[in-house]
Amino acid sequence: MPRTAKKNPVDNIFSLVTAAASFSIILLIIGILYVLVSESSLAIGKFGIWKFLSSTDWDPVKESFGALTNVYGTAFTTLLSLVIAIPVAIGIAIFVTEISPNFLKGPIGAAIELLAAIPSIIYGMWGLFTLSPIMSNHIEPFLKKIFGAVPLVGILFQGTPMGIDILTASVILSIMIIPFTASISRDSFNLTPSVVKESAYAIGATRWEVIKNVVIPYSKLGVFGGIVLSLGRALGETMAVAFVLGNNHRITTSLFDAAATITVTLANEFAEADTDIYLSSLFYLALVLFVMSFITLAIAKFFLLRAEKKYSR
């Protein structure tokens, strides 16, 4: 900041105002943490930390609450959505950077980013009205027929396919998070110096070999950051999943079963928790989610910063 000879009073005020505005971010984070902790103090006092996180109880009648079913559901759906989304997203990035003709690069890239702009409630509605019947009438019975009897893998495909289950929810989530990994991967791929690629071509590598052995390893940090960012977004998704998840507080192994995630439990039960301990447990869940996503997003940011540093050398 330039040191001017005269200290202008308006300047001081303006700098203070802008400083306050930017500090609002810090205040917000501290505020949210403080409120969440103080609201969950009742539940923390009653259940402790380890017991809450490892208990599968979610019993409003007996006033016993545990986070495990919700955390399990959140983890299951997010990880499954990542498994589906990552190959597709990287495939898209490869296509846009290496295969597509130049005039198509912009429009296709923009189209994929539009997927991120669609509000999550639209995804949810579409999932309930359009995707869920397709899943329950065609795709899920098909999967059950093929994999149901296979040992080990078959556990994932038990039960009646209703369309309102973990699989449908994960598919919708995966569509939503594709754009994040895809655009960051595309940007990282583009930053690979042509010199390195050209050297590989010079010794006779095929296009795919250059991608596999040069571009992807070079962009590892960026791609990984994109993946973790997608994970962070998927953790916090509520509306896209609320319509088709089925809201059953259970630990389940089948993709065709209903489950519960932290976000959907909050959406469904927050306005109705009638006892203090119930509400406090919900705040406790919100706290767990906040901490989980904050850490995940921080890790993502860490990788993206490292990538930035590396590529701008």
């Binding site: 409003p60 209903a258 009638d274």
Partner: protein
């Protein structure tokens, strides 16, 4: 840019204080059970008096919570609170209308009233022990019905629900296994099934999932053309859910204003009584006399003018004697 900002800020200021419509608003929230009839009454009341009674259907659990936190003017719950619970939160309670909870099924070929069930069957289905539609326990009650060998898809509530309370109270009353394993309440630990939000959600899921069973307030079954089942009542008869059988169930009810009308109507003894009937209650914050007067004015109007609408939607309006008891209760509590 600056001009635009100033203009926008001025507009926002105007809007936030504008009571342009100057319409009075009363906020209520709670049970989805009576949502069709309350919203109907509110619509008509608004035409007559201009007062906007904004009722949000968020489940009885939500209604109880919101009124206890005083975030609404009145709460609505199908599960009556005991006098102790009312004292604890300093609330008043009175019934507004009665109705019935009915099991609904979506089975290919089965029409409304086409399937007979008894308490044993319903209990076992919801416990997860009875898994297939063509199980003998159901087949023996319905020899002429073509039941498929499909798994039963169970639908229940995901939110805190008075409808659930009525339903689980019924199950606890007729089924010791249910009473021990799960119990009754607005929100229970369901052994099986998927959870829908509100009566609306259960109706929605049941409608779009084949071979499913759910439980909803009768108006929802009617309005969404869902196939309700017949049930065997304690008197041993298979009864159909309709105005007569609901009325029969309510006929033996003795609501006591001294106990704040706390009463369950399940498993009523009448010969043609529907076994899963219930009243739905309004909760008021004791100390908010002004707002209570306005709420009570609405319900007084509904007691005088809303019976026809209620019957159209297959709810049972309260008998005149009960209405008078309620009016006396209001007076006795300073409203």
């Amino acid at each position: 840019m600056k001009m635009f900002l100033k203009l926008a800020m001025a507009l926002a200021l105007v809007f936030s204080f504008a009571h342009a419509e100057a319409a009075e608003m009363l906020n209520g929230a709670g049970a989805s059970f009576p949502y069709p009839v309350y919203s109907s009454w509110a619509y008509d009341y608004n035409k007559v008096t201009g007062v906007q009674l904004n009722y949000q259907s968020i489940g009885s659990g939500g209604g109880i919570k919101q009124i206890s936190a005083r975030t609404v003017a009145f709460g609505a719950s199908d599960a009556p609170l005991t006098p102790e619970q009312l004292e604890k939160n300093r609330l008043l309670q009175f019934p507004a209308v009665m109705g019935g909870v009915v099991p609904v099924v979506t089975i290919p070929g089965v029409k409304a009233g086409g399937l007979k069930l008894d308490s044993n069957a319903v209990c076992s289905i919801y416990l997860g022990e009875l898994k297939y539609w063509d199980d003998n326990r159901i087949k023996s009650l319905n020899p002429k019905v073509n039941l498929p060998h499909s798994e039963i898809n169970v639908v229940h509530r995901s939110d805190g629900s008075g409808t659930t309370a009525i339903f689980t109270n019924y199950l606890s009353g007729v089924c010791p296994a249910w009473k021990n394993k799960v119990g009754a309440g607005t929100s229970v630990k369901w052994p099986v099934g998927i959870g829908g939000k509100g009566n609306e959600g259960v109706a929605n899921y049941t409608k779009r999932t084949p071979n499913s069973i759910g439980y909803v307030e009768f108006a929802y079954a009617e309005q969404n053309k869902l196939a309700y089942t017949l049930l065997k009542n304690p008197a041993g008869n298979f009864v159909e859910p309709n105005f007569k059988t609901f009325e029969d169930a309510a006929a033996t009810a003795n609501f006591d204003p001294k106990k704040h009308f706390d009463l369950w109507l399940v498993n009523a003894p009448g010969k043609h009584a529907w076994p899963i009937a219930g009243a739905t209650f309004i909760l008021l914050a004791k100390e908010k006399t002004d707002s209570n007067k306005k709420v009570v004015k609405f319900f007084d109007w509904a007691f005088n003018n809303g019976d026809k609408k209620a019957k159209e939607l297959v709810y049972v309006p309260l008998p005149k004697t009960l209405k008078d008891k309620i009016r006396a209760y209001w007076k006795a509590n300073g409203i």
